[in-house]
């Protein structure tokens, strides 16, 4: 298969998977695209939205479109780490000898839906950490690799914060994207009603296998990026830090901590998937800007003033992008240099 065919295959697979999800999920085109970008970039995605907007349905539909195992964990306050990763149980063989055997937990699936992840205790949340970051879990000193591809889709509810344990910054940073699921428009709502209240349910075809996902992930990493685009990603991340000398005023005023280098990695990887999905062979500035909000909104921690003023992180990222672009172009005006 030639490279051109590989790219073409990816573009078609991306489009068909998006189409399968679109059969069930009405609207949310950008959210679905970003979820797929997260899948092919090799990251994990956090979905945030009020109840009833179809977050769980989106993940289930995506899993249905992929020939991959799917696990779902409903996070509750009494959920224990062993409930996620599994535990050693005593088994008796035919000869009557007893021995311990590791019983795998629901984390051992290709696609893991962590529903309402902020309802579990930090101890249980952290049990998910190793799996997300390392692709393996350790029980009784023995490391068990997770199946590949391993894709965590977590959902959380921004309201009803009583009795919840907000994810710490370290854990948030492990998500490639944080996507906001907003309320649907009127036409989309009508379509949702039509689709969900009729007798026949929509069937979702399996359009992609696990090895294909892995192959596409490798292809994505081959997409070249120009130096000035890479530099822009660095400028964007640096502009989220209030200590940076060129940081915009909003950052200085409202931000306590800026993005980590993982934010820049998420920008570039997301940009690569986005470019390839559009049939392009290079990352452009527009690709970075397209994924900037999803990649950075959970990595920017507002200070007290920002929280008190109700600063919207997405609009703050808009200012950050403007400043970063200005910084990227500064001194590179080709005409009069």
């Amino acid at each position: 298969m030639t490279n051109a065919e590989r790219v073409q295959e990816f573009v078609e697979a991306f489009g068909s998977l998006k189409g399968e999800v679109g059969k069930v999920i009405v609207g949310y085109e950008e959210v679905v695209t970003d979820v797929l970008v997260g899948l092919f970039a090799g990251g994990h995605v956090l979905l945030e939205g009020v109840p009833g907007l179809g977050k769980t349905l989106l993940v289930k539909t995506l899993a249905a479109g992929l020939e991959l195992s799917f696990s779902r964990i409903q996070f509750t306050p009494d959920l224990m780490p062993a409930d996620i990763i599994g535990t050693n149980i005593i088994l008796e063989d035919p000869e009557g000898r007893r021995h311990f055997q590791f019983q795998k937990g629901p984390i051992f699936g290709h696609i893991l839906l962590s529903d309402e992840v902020n309802r579990a205790t930090p101890k249980t949340q952290s049990a998910l950490l190793e799996g997300m970051q390392e692709g393996s879990v350790t029980v009784s000193g023995i490391s068990h690799p997770l199946p590949s591809p391993f894709f965590v889709l977590a959902t959380q509810n921004p309201i009803e914060m009583e009795g919840t344990y907000p994810l710490p910054e370290a854990q948030l940073d492990r998500f490639l994207f944080k996507l906001r699921v907003t309320y649907p428009a009127l036409e989309e709502l009508n379509e949702i009603i039509d689709r969900t209240t009729r007798a026949r349910e929509t069937e979702v075809r399996r359009v992609m296998t696990g090895p294909e996902v892995l192959r596409f992930r490798e292809l994505v990493r081959e997409v070249p990026i120009a130096a000035h685009v890479r530099e822009l990603a660095s400028f964007i991340v640096m502009a989220t830090h209030p200590q940076w000398e060129h940081a915009p005023e909003v950052t200085r005023r409202f931000v306590r901590y800026g993005s980590s280098p993982r934010g820049a990695q998420a920008l570039v990887l997301g940009g690569k998937v986005r470019a390839l999905a559009q049939g392009r062979y290079n990352v452009s500035v527009e690709d970075l800007k397209g994924v900037a909000r999803a990649a950075l909104r959970h990595r920017i921690i507002l200070n007290f003033e920002g929280e008190a003023e109700g600063v919207d992180v997405d609009s703050l990222i808009g200012d950050v992008l403007e400043r970063a672009e200005a910084m990227s172009r500064k001194g590179k005006e080709v005409f009069l240099r």
Binding site: V7, V223, P224, A227, Y281, N282, R337
Partner: protein, 482 residues
């Protein structure tokens, strides 16, 4: 690598366009500054001659050419040209990426696809209008020097003033006839010099009129107003002012007569005198001490002694010693007087202020009961005596402080023991050796303080209920006694 050639051609084409636009830009800017410089030969047309307009035009064109040359020769990074092409054609950074990655050894297979894709796109594009034309800011002002150049070229030459700077040489022999001729042009100065003596004479006349000198007053002469007054006969005597000033300066020289601003008048007389003595004697032998200053110190001590001090005799002896030139004798007398002064001051601070009038009387009575213990100043109990626990004549080892206050319902102070000598602070009731130190705390203060401590301890510590009631009853009994 035909694709790479296409890419390089595009970048070169864009680069050439950039050079052309730069040449235009900098050429116009150079024309502006050249035109400004070209005004100079036109202004000096009389000196330069008829070739001035041609020279001015040449200078302006030279500026334009220099600017254009600069625009052509400025370096153009290929990456920047590629970015410009990307922006102009909307190629989404394809050109810059392909240019950068096309020559890299670690390029991925997708780079070839990128270059091929870019080449296909470039074939459909017209690369002529990649770089837009820009105009320099100076272009708006270019008309001004141009018009000036035309006007100056058409106008007759501007005449320049002839002549030279004056020669300040003192020798008139060195002057040439031409210089003398030029000097006639500047003949104003001698006239001004002649007018000055006239003004001086007029001033003299006016002054003499103010001074009462005879002479008719002129209309408008202000001196005439003072002619018949007493002031009119007086001339200002600046010498007298200077003399008085001298006297003041002499006074300032007498440092000893100046008040000592450093002296702290809030401190005691004894300390004040002690400090002055220390300053006077500091490390000197008796024969080195100034008798005058010693006399002043003795006189001051004498003044203080008149207000109730008993060191008048010592001061008199010291004065005599000074009169007879015996400085050491005067010093000894002064030391004695100083000791007496200190003793008086200590008597004033022996704790009497703590005792109320009634208690003072009561203390005198008790002292009498005990057979007295000397003078009124030493009416305090001696060391180890009194009603302190385990000491003195009281057989009760625990003491009986409340009983002593029974006759005095007012809290004038616990009857304690005043030590002889200086007492800088208060002492509390102590046990063991500390019992030698008498109490000087206010009873109410002590009782309130201990009651507060008790309440805090009750709240903080886990004290059994029975003990709590005992402690409470104890403090209540103390309160009843009071």
């Amino acid at each position: 690598m035909a694709d790479a050639d296409v890419l390089e051609r595009l970048v070169a084409q864009v680069g050439w366009q950039i050079r052309r636009r730069r040449a235009e830009f900098y050429g116009l800017r150079g024309l502006f500054y050249g035109a400004i410089v070209g005004l100079v030969p036109l202004l000096l047309k009389s000196a330069v001659g008829p070739a001035a307009p041609l020279i001015a035009l040449g200078v302006a064109l030279l500026g334009a050419a220099a600017g254009a040359l600069r625009g052509l020769t400025l370096p153009i990074p290929a990456a920047d040209a590629a970015r410009l092409a990307d922006r102009t054609f909307g190629l989404q950074d394809r050109v810059a990426t392909a240019l950068e990655w096309g020559s890299r050894p670690d390029r991925s297979p997708l780079v070839d696809l990128l270059v091929a894709d870019l080449t296909a796109r470039l074939q459909d594009l017209d690369g002529r209008g990649v770089v837009r034309r820009r105009w320099p800011r100076e272009l708006r002002l270019l008309l001004l020097p141009a018009v000036l150049m035309v006007l100056l070229a058409l106008a007759p030459p501007i005449p320049f003033p002839a002549g030279r700077l004056p020669v300040f040489s003192s020798s008139d022999d060195a002057e040439t006839p031409e210089e003398r001729g030029a000097k006639v042009l500047t003949d104003e100065r001698p006239k001004a010099a002649k007018r000055a003596p006239l003004q001086h004479a007029e001033m003299e006349r006016n002054l003499s009129a103010r001074g009462g000198a005879t002479g008719g007053s002129q209309p408008g002469d202000l001196a005439a107003l003072f002619k018949d007054t007493a002031l009119a006969a007086q001339r200002p005597d600046f010498q007298s002012f200077l003399k008085k000033g001298d006297e003041r300066l002499r006074m300032l020289e007498q440092v000893d007569r100046l008040p000592d601003l450093k002296r702290d008048f809030t401190q005691s007389q004894y300390k004040m005198i002690f400090q002055r003595r220390k300053e006077l004697f500091g490390g000197l032998r008796p024969d080195q001490i100034s008798p005058q200053k010693l006399r002043e110190l003795l006189e001051e001590m004498q003044r203080m002694g008149r207000k109730g001090g008993d060191w008048g005799g010592d001061i008199g002896e010291g004065m005599e010693g000074l009169e007879s030139g015996q400085t050491d004798r005067a010093m000894e007398a002064m030391e004695r007087a100083l000791s007496k002064m200190r003793a008086m001051e200590e008597r004033g601070r022996d704790g009497r202020g703590l005792r109320g009038g009634r208690e003072e009387g009561r203390r005198g009575g008790r002292g009498a009961d005990r057979g007295g213990s000397g003078s009124d100043m030493d009416a305090d109990f001696g060391e180890g005596e009194g009603l302190l626990p385990g000491k003195g004549r009281n057989p009760n080892p625990k003491g009986d402080p409340t009983e002593r206050l029974r006759g005095n319902p007012f809290d004038a102070g616990v009857e304690g023991e005043a030590r002889s000598g200086r007492k800088e602070g208060y002492d509390t009731n102590l046990l063991g050796k500390g019992t030698n130190v008498p109490s000087r705390l206010q009873y109410m203060g002590v009782f309130g303080q201990y009651r507060k401590m008790m309440e805090e301890a009750m709240a903080r510590e886990q004290v059994p209920r029975d003990y709590q009631s005992q402690v409470k009853e104890y403090f209540e009994s103390l309160e009843e006694r009071r």
